[in-house]
């Protein structure tokens, strides 16, 4: 899975450029926004007409999902166990995602720099890490539950694991791609040995590292839901699971929407940070 992800960023970037150009041809910013909204609007309309007024529909109509979302966030409509609990669940999930992701950054970044740069470390650790990498994060769940108990700590661990590999793989790739010339330039200017990590290796591989951070954070949001689906009381994964058991499909979908929005927002934040830190790079948007 990570191999596919690794190949994805450049392709995504190139594709983005082409489609933006086409959109621009379709008539400026307003045209872009209209076009971007047309597709979801069509889906919502189709969804509405397929479900509204149907007595035995398995899927609730969009308006009912919107109402459930409002109640989940602010209460005042259903006044049941789910009302006004969104913030609690969001904070629980965000906390686990940030914690697990942060820990993954702390572990994967230095490790990636070392594996990429120091042959001894690479020869010692790389084979093991490559052997463990194909194991899907979800396959770790039972073992995580045995090791960390049923509860939030397993979710935390899964998030860590899910974010770890994309960050590690991209960091190693970035470090290995640094031009040898830059190390020569640094050493003839008096920057040698370990000092090159901070002054050359890290900044030079920052574009690849950011790709890894974005992928890792995206993965963290995928994994958190799985981690929260068993034996956890709070978190968006937990309410989705609970709502499913109570056949409250509108809340299941509302929870999905919340996760999507949070994943989107966190990706934007990382992207904005990347844009500031990588303004030097000619091929970074």
């Amino acid at each position: 899975m990570s191999i596919v992800m690794q190949g994805a960023p450049p392709a995504m970037r190139g594709h983005g450029r082409v489609s933006t150009a086409r959109l621009r041809a379709l008539g400026g910013r307003a045209g872009q926004v209209a076009l971007a909204l047309a597709f979801p609007a069509a889906i919502l309309t189709g969804w509405h007409f397929a479900t509204a007024g149907e007595a035995y529909s398995l899927v609730p109509p969009p308006a009912e999902v919107a109402r459930a979302f409002w109640d989940l966030a602010f209460g005042g409509i259903n006044d049941d166990a789910f009302s006004q609990t969104l913030l609690t669940h969001v904070l629980a999930s965000v906390g686990r995602v940030l914690g697990g992701f942060g820990l993954a950054v702390l572990a994967a970044l230095p490790l990636g720099l070392l594996i990429g740069r120091v042959p001894f470390v690479r020869q010692m650790l790389d084979p093991t890490l490559q052997l463990l990498r194909p194991i899907p994060v979800t396959a770790w769940l039972p073992l995580a539950m045995i090791l960390f108990g049923i509860g939030p700590r397993s979710a935390f661990f899964l998030v860590f694991l899910g974010a770890f590999y994309p960050i590690l793989v991209n960091t190693v790739f970035g470090v290995r791609a640094v031009e040898a010339r830059l190390f020569e330039a640094a050493s003839m200017l008096g920057c040698k040995g370990p000092a090159q990590f901070a002054r050359v290796v890290l900044p030079a591989s920052l574009p690849a590292i950011f790709t890894g951070l974005r992928l890792g954070l995206g993965f963290a949001w995928v994994v958190i839901v799985i981690g929260e689906m068993t034996g956890v009381q709070t978190g968006l994964g937990a309410i989705i699971m609970e709502a499913r058991q109570l056949s409250r499909t509108e809340i299941v979908i509302a929870g999905m929407v919340a996760i999507g929005a949070l994943g989107f927002i966190s990706d934007r934040l990382v992207m904005l940070l990347g844009r500031r830190l990588l303004s030097w790079s000619p091929n970074h948007v």
Binding site: L182, A185, A186, S187, M188, G190, R199, P203, W280
Partner: protein, 259 residues
């Protein structure tokens, strides 16, 4: 001050063999060269005759397989700020601005911030990049990039500047201008320059001494002391006579090799 008797750079019978996928390639065979402080020396010769290898040994990037490379009489055992290198492909740090690149060595060596700023400003002005001081390398033309590369070695107190076909990737007009600027810097700072080129005209225009190299295996063939006054006129009869002489020397190896 009296002239130091020890040469600033000395190559004594330097040979270099590379192991390249099981093959042994002799890049350099018994090259000897003495460079005195303040000299401007051009290394010239066909590609593959070991010019870059000789320069990289002087820089400390490579160790000789046999023979000795000395600076001020001491063996060169690695890269050092006293020997600055200017690469044909610039080798600028893309994540640092012009200022950042020029101050890189000073910052890496832990100099105080105020000193770095002063020195950087001085060299930014010296190479005429005031307007581009805060630009990223990818926003600069080739000529500007090479000015930054020169400034960052000078700002770092280089005594010897090693230049490997530094103007080879530039257009003719930019190259001419940079040659003039380099000579000005050299004359005003007392630098020692070891400059690799494959242009005879460039060598005759720039150097005090031209060192001709020949391939198969790479070695130093002959040296030619140039006592032409500066600035040199590339259209003058003397200039052309020297150019012709060098041309013949470089071509005679080809003839010898073919025979």
């Amino acid at each position: 001050m009296s002239e130091p008797t020890i040469p600033i750079l000395e190559m004594r019978n330097v040979s270099k063999t590379f192991d390249f996928s099981g093959q042994r390639i002799q890049a350099l065979s018994g090259a000897s060269l003495t460079v005195r402080k303040g000299e401007f020396i051009c290394l010239i010769g066909a590609s593959g005759c070991g010019k870059s290898t000789l320069l990289r040994i002087a820089a400390g990037f490579e160790q000789p397989t046999s023979g000795e490379a000395l600076m001020w009489g001491k063996p060169i055992d690695g890269p050092d700020p006293s020997r600055g290198m200017v690469f044909q492909d610039y080798g600028l740090f893309p994540w640092l601005t012009v200022r950042g690149n020029i101050g890189f060595g000073l910052a890496a060596r832990g100099r105080p911030k105020a000193e770095i700023q002063d020195t950087v400003s001085r060299y930014v002005d010296m190479v005429g990049l005031g307007k581009f001081a805060d630009a990223w390398p990818h926003q600069l033309s080739g000529g500007m990039k090479q000015r930054v590369a020169i400034a960052r070695v000078l700002a770092n107190d280089a005594e010897v500047v090693l230049m490997d076909e530094p103007f080879g990737a530039l257009d003719a007009m930019t190259r001419d201008r940079l040659q003039d600027e380099l000579l000005e810097l050299w004359a005003s700072t007392g630098l020692t320059v070891l400059f690799v080129t494959h242009s005879i005209e460039e060598a005759v225009f720039l150097s005090d001494r031209v060192v001709a190299m020949s391939p198969g295996p790479g070695r130093i063939d002959s040296e030619l002391q140039l006592d032409l006054p500066r600035p040199r006129d590339v259209a003058s009869p003397t200039f052309n006579a020297i150019r012709g002489d060098l041309n013949q020397r470089l071509h005679s190896h080809h003839a010898r090799r073919a025979a």
